[in-house]
Symmetry: C3
Subunit: 107 residues, 3 copies
């Protein structure tokens, strides 16, 4: 068995947990902040059998792939004449560590 520690963006974590659960993969969400990714992040602890490791990493890649998103910034201070225009930001991304599990117990 393998243990995956995946640091993902908050905006991707709910969808990723849902997709893993739907595939019958056990996952626990740890509260985490800062470091590997600029924005708010979540660390997922995922237990997986060797033969399904590849599939799980593919799921993470699919859900968390970095992609462009167009956001419109909030208008500046009221009375200001500058009109806010949409800008493109990159969201997503993940840092994935796979470690060996020597023993696994379901109590």
């Amino acid at each position: 068995m393998k243990m995956i520690m995946a640091v993902v963006q908050d905006i991707d974590s709910a969808k990723l947990v849902e997709e893993l659960t739907r595939n019958n993969i056990g996952v626990t969400r740890l509260a985490s902040t800062g470091g590997f990714l600029k924005r708010g992040n979540t660390t997922l602890m995922i237990g997986v059998e060797e033969e399904r490791l590849k599939d799980v990493i593919k799921i993470i890649e699919r859900i968390c792939r970095p992609r462009k998103q167009v956001v419109t910034p909030f208008p500046a201070a009221p009375g200001e004449t500058m009109i806010p225009y949409p800008i493109e930001v990159t969201v997503g991304g993940a840092t994935v560590f796979v470690m060996n599990v020597e023993r696994f117990e379901k109590i």
Copy 2:
């Protein structure tokens, strides 16, 4: 040395931490949610020497074993005639991963 990551129910975590500490086993509680167990859970990170690993897993099994508990659900909306009756639910359970620690430092 081994690292145990144990996902346990919130209702069992305080007693388990107490019991491990009483046995001189270092344990850190990580805030966690959802996934392996239906209800609120806590992830415990436990560092243990190989020769005590068996004992620690026995402690986890003893404290966190799944067991039946009788709970009386809250009455339904006021004015409703249905009388709530006690039901049996299963509480407890744990998911335990053991990983090898290559190096351990107490600073």
Copy 3:
């Protein structure tokens, strides 16, 4: 690649994260409580290449080394005649686990 799980005191964690980041070492902060250290603590998950492991442990030792600190306790209840005097306490310390990472993916 190696994964370091370091349990450090809250008072040292911000400085340690800053120092690791400045050295280009990826780090994620997990919310944690109790156990290995008496006071409030934080668990840092640090991914590092083998050749930099020694350096990272040296950084942790430098920032988190146990040291004496003089604190003046709060005065007792108002009206009490006892005058509080400064006392010396030990702060810092860390518990460091190093585990092997079999696979690492940056998505």
